[in-house]
Symmetry: C2
Amino acid sequence: MAPKKVDRNGFQALLRVKPGAKVDLARFDCGATFGREKDAATDDLAKVLARLADLQERLWAEAAHAVLVVVQGIDAAGKDGTIRVIAGAFNPQGTPVASFKAPTPLELAHDYLWRVHQRVPAKGEIGIFNRSHYEDVLIVRVHGLVPEKRWRRRYEHIRSFEKMLTDEGVTIVKLFLAIDRDEQRARFQERVDDPTKRWKFNPGDLAERARWDDYRAAFEEMLDETSTAYAPWYLVPANRNWLRNLAVGEILADTLDALKPAYPPAAPGVEGTRVE
Amino acid sequence: MAPKKVDRNGFQALLRVKPGAKVDLARFDCGATFGREKDAATDDLAKVLARLADLQERLWAEAAHAVLVVVQGIDAAGKDGTIRVIAGAFNPQGTPVASFKAPTPLELAHDYLWRVHQRVPAKGEIGIFNRSHYEDVLIVRVHGLVPEKRWRRRYEHIRSFEKMLTDEGVTIVKLFLAIDRDEQRARFQERVDDPTKRWKFNPGDLAERARWDDYRAAFEEMLDETSTAYAPWYLVPANRNWLRNLAVGEILADTLDALKPAYPPAAPGVEGTRVE
């Protein structure tokens, strides 16, 4: 397979956050469509999911590369839905999903990368993080759970940690799902109003919503400080689920493509064996 | 939802191994169809996968029950394919798959249930084991890796371990996928002949195949000794993938149905909230 050129109009190029960028989320269009059509989205998504399925099977067979997909975003940004759609294309056996919630006492008794490191995928796997070590510069910062001096030096820790992982064969893709304040309102309201979704909502969500601007500042600095050449963030407009799914699917497929995963050769003597 | 009666013609009743059964795999029809039609299988499978998706979402929301699905079977019996189809119906986030291969030195330094216990699913999860602690009375027995005295007392350990799990809220479903010797030959030959499958095959597989009768005896005794009222084995005819998928899907759906998973009530004060 010939190496694929980066498509300048592809989402991988369009949405990648340049190292040291000064992201301004207040001016980011979370409803952007980049000229893509909703009518074509079902077909386009089916195509990219088929590509992903093929690539994942080769990656799993080859067992030479690990891929770590980090998914972040404010409450109701669509983290769960994105993971469901994308992981649905993969063999679940090679696709562990780790969901990082409020740390347990045991986790809190360790450094903040300890629990995360344990869940880093093995070679052949595509591991998905629903939230991650980035919460340690997000919720931790917004709620002042540790002093600024402590969370601020974490950007450097995280860059170093991700560099080590990359050097050791882990490909890292970081997805920031961006919805705007009004879209979050609508999604929360839907959770309240729909009896099958109400369990997802708790009144504490409104207290978090009230800190919208604090979160925005934390997200912006996280993107500026930790989008690197080796472990880039992608800033994904996520008001429209169909566009978000397409963008994430195409970014992942292009990332996997670049690894050129190939079925490994058979063990010596296998070819031509006649099974009795 | 009214509690569902056990359907006497359903796979759950048909394939369940009674405690203390004397299973005779040599006389078991691995190609049985139970009057089901292949032509209808695609529709039937879509229906049961939709049921599974709905049940899993409720189970996950409720977070009151854990479900452990153990998948065993000889090489090429279809363990991976079954897991792919069934887990494909579920939200991957709530469906950890644990694959137990040859134990590492660290695992061997512990009792044989140690590594397994760590991967038992949490409440709300449907955990799938691709192979399991049962290898410790299968491959370990066939290869004489421990003396008979040691592996023989493991039936009792396993019954006790599974009883404890059940008492603590884990529902256990054990699936034995049964193919016959000729079907294994055809599947191995296909792996050898298909360049995209050849990596799955290694010459050691033929050495294992040569021990077919030893494995059969080990499987039979495992089924007889460890199919219990609280953690039953299902003996699934698996020569035909379509029948195997239907049977496994329906057994799981009926098992989940019996737990009557329900969306939990909203937190106090959520209903009627207006999000600003």
